[in-house]
């Protein structure tokens, strides 16, 4: 999908199931510089060193989901975060600032294309990155198709944020086509229009 620009990205795998972390490592090790952390505390330690992409499991036994994310945002670690988890997204996912969300089981191809997409995302400016985050969050929430989610205040806030970002992006770059931007990544789920 994208070229690897000489230097390989640093990928941190945070996964308490060792066998799974090892498998991810095997899949990615020939292209990227991969490290694995099997616990939350260990992951926070690893974040001290250079990291471009974090593959983060939810429901780690020693640390709440949002703590690692908070750590990343607070320390201003410039990295993309992909949730790779068996936990289906719910309302509690809205406030988690992730860049993508994969539901287990994932295969070799899923993981590679996602990491490549994250590399591409890193080349965009902040507004586009945030828009992508919001679009992904909306997409995973819609995947669940629960009216409790789509009727929730947080969801409408998210919708508003998406519209604001789209407007801002159109203003800053007249030639920008958000549709092409979305298509460039993948088919993100959008709200149904009523028949």
């Amino acid at each position: 999908m994208t070229e690897n620009y000489g230097t390989s990205a640093d990928v941190l795998i945070v996964e308490d199931e060792r066998a799974l972390a090892d498998l991810y490592t095997e899949w990615l090790a020939d292209t990227y510089s991969v490290r694995a952390a099997y616990e939350g505390e260990q992951a926070i330690g690893e974040l001290e060193e250079a990291v471009d992409i974090v593959l983060l499991d939810r429901g780690l036994p020693d640390i709440p989901d949002d703590e690692i994310l908070d750590h990343i945002r607070k320390r201003d670690v410039d990295c993309r975060v992909v949730m790779v988890t068996a936990v289906e997204p719910g309302l509690d996912s809205i406030d988690l600032e992730f860049d993508d969300y994969l539901i287990k089981p994932v295969d070799d191809e899923d993981l590679r294309t996602t990491v490549e997409r994250m590399e591409q995302l890193a080349t965009y400016d902040d507004l586009l990155q945030e828009l992508y985050q919001c679009l992904v969050t909306r997409s995973v929430l819609l995947e669940k198709d629960d009216i409790e989610i789509t009727d929730h205040e947080s969801y409408s806030d998210l919708q508003d944020r998406i519209e604001t970002l789209q407007d801002q992006i159109e203003v800053t770059s007249e030639t920008f086509d958000t549709g092409a931007f979305e298509a460039a990544f993948r088919d993100l789920k959008e709200p149904h229009s009523h028949d």
Binding site: L20, L23, G59, A86, E88, P105, V106, D145, I147
Partner: protein, 498 residues
């Protein structure tokens, strides 16, 4: 077999018939009596005319009594046309007889007295008859008034019985909220006796669960003349909580001013308890399913991933078998989660195009050779995603049983739609077990797909029937579906999707 309603209807019919006969009898008797009075006056009229009496004497002596006789006959007719029941007509007749009897005694005594005093009275028998006729009319008027009163009292009694034994707590307050009446159910539900409740304010039932704004809104509604309806928590006299579904309505007087408030409380404590229990059970089931699926997906992911790794080194048919088994496990996890979470609930009913949802469902099916033909473009009211899931499961079921090059058709049937395949069909004796969880005859089925279908059908209030298709395959008919538009007839069949 006789339905209970049959005998009830027959009974009411019999009662109506008997009542009708009695009404004709009582009204007829009255009319007949009136006619007799009128006819008897005829010779009086003739005699008086022959005697050359003046018009005034004729009028008062014969014509008026004759007319009064006809009036009585008219009353009989009027009663027959009225809505008074037979028992009340009988009452009018009794009063009529009292009137006649009373006047007969009084007039008889008067006439005898006059005669004894030496007065010369002509046509004594007609004089007597005039009095009696007048007495009869008076009797009818009193009877009419009495019968109507009786009827109102009876109606009030029925209302009172209904209020007393209607099974709901019922009370009446003055416009300022002072309790003026409570029924016996009030005591049963709240623990306050009638004596304890009368003269007090319904706030004795306040539990503190509702805030002041709730009561303010309630007062605003009922004072403006509207009906208030809400569920709330009350406190019984013994301090225990009671969930009620409360309706309060203002009762207006002739000047459209609020005279009373009437409150009806339906005890829903048991339903609430059951609902809470069920919700808790569902939450636990949901939690359990989430944990299980989370814990199962990790090792599943490892196994699937490792198979891929091995495939890079060598190809073996064993790997295919293992992978298929793991795929089936993945589907099982998904299905268990679906059953635990969403089976029984639907949200957001909307009008959806069956064809569009079929297309979306088909896109999720991994099938190389199977065909889908949608032969309707009806729009139905459904929860879109649940409907899609239902269709996906039926399509998968058809492919699992009918082979990978099966043809599946979706079309309109009476009251809904059908999904039919060209597979080998389902034997009649297997149809009953079809929707049970875990029932599967397919080698790689989960046995939950059709159980989910049935849950979705039930959640929508639809019905599903399994039949044999035209070509011997399985045909699932989903009926009781609210359909909005079907342009199928005018636009011809929808394009085939493959």
């Amino acid at each position: 077999m006789t339905r209970p309603t049959d005998s009830f209807e027959a009974m009411t019919r019999r009662m109506d018939k008997a009542d009708k006969k009695r009404r004709i009898l009582y009204a007829g008797l009255l009319s007949a009596a009136g006619l007799v009075f009128a006819v008897v006056q005829l010779p009086h009229l003739v005699a008086d005319s022959m005697e050359g009496m003046g018009l005034v004497a004729l009028l008062t002596g014969a014509i008026l009594p004759l007319l009064l006789g006809l009036v009585i006959a008219g009353f009989g007719y009027g009663l027959w046309r009225s809505d008074l029941p037979a028992a009340q007509l009988r009452r009018v007749n009794i009063w009529f007889l009292f009137g006649i009897g009373g006047m007969a005694v009084v007039s008889g005594a008067l006439i005898i007295y006059e005669l004894l005093e030496g007065a010369r009275l002509s046509h004594i028998e007609y004089l007597f008859l005039d009095f009696v006729t007048a007495g009869g009319i008076a009797g009818i008027l009193v009877g009419w008034y009495d019968a109507n009163n009786q009827r109102h009292t009876k109606q009030l009694q029925i209302f009172q019985q209904a209020v007393e034994h209607g099974g709901h707590c019922f009370y009446l307050t003055s416009p300022d909220g002072t309790i003026e009446y409570v029924n016996s159910e009030f005591e049963a539900q709240t623990g306050y006796t009638q004596e304890e409740a009368l003269g007090r304010n319904p706030r004795i039932l306040k539990s503190g669960e509702q805030d002041e704004a709730f009561y303010e809104e309630m007062w605003r509604t009922i004072l403006s003349g509207d009906v208030w309806q809400s569920e709330l928590v009350n406190e019984r006299k013994d301090g225990t909580r009671q969930y009620v579904d409360q309706t309060i309505a203002p009762v207006m007087d002739g000047q459209n001013e609020i005279e009373h408030f009437v409150a009806i409380n339906r005890d829903i404590t048991e339903q609430k308890k059951q609902k809470t229990k069920l919700e808790r059970q569902n939450e636990r089931l949901d939690e359990f399913a989430s944990v299980v699926s989370h814990d199962l997906r990790n090792p599943l992911n490892v196994a699937l991933g490792r198979i891929d790794v091995v495939r890079n080194d060598c190809e073996s048919e064993h790997l295919d078998v293992a992978e298929r088994a793991l795929d089936r496990m993945e589907r099982l996890i998904d299905d268990v989660l679906t059953l635990a979470r969403q089976g029984e609930t639907i949200s957001g009913i909307e009008t959806v195009s069956l064809q569009t949802v079929c297309e979306d469902a088909w896109a999720q099916i991994d099938s190389v050779d199977a065909n889908l033909s949608v032969q309707t473009d009806q729009s139905i009211s459904a929860d879109r995603s649940r409907l899609q899931q239902l269709l996906e499961n039926l399509f998968r079921n058809a492919i699992e049983h009918g082979g990978r090059n099966v043809t599946i058709s979706v079309g309109r049937c009476d009251g809904g739609f059908y999904v039919e395949d060209t597979g080998e069909g389902i034997p009649a004796d297997a149809r009953e077990d079809l929707f049970k969880s875990g029932y599967t005859t397919a080698e790689d089925g989960t046995g939950l797909g059709l159980a989910i279908v049935q849950r979705i059908v039930e959640a929508h209030g639809w019905e599903i029937t399994v039949l044999e298709g035209e070509e011997g395959g399985a045909r699932f008919e989903i009926t009781g579906v609210a359909t909005s538009i079907d342009t199928h007839a005018t636009r011809g069949s929808a394009p085939e999707i493959r």
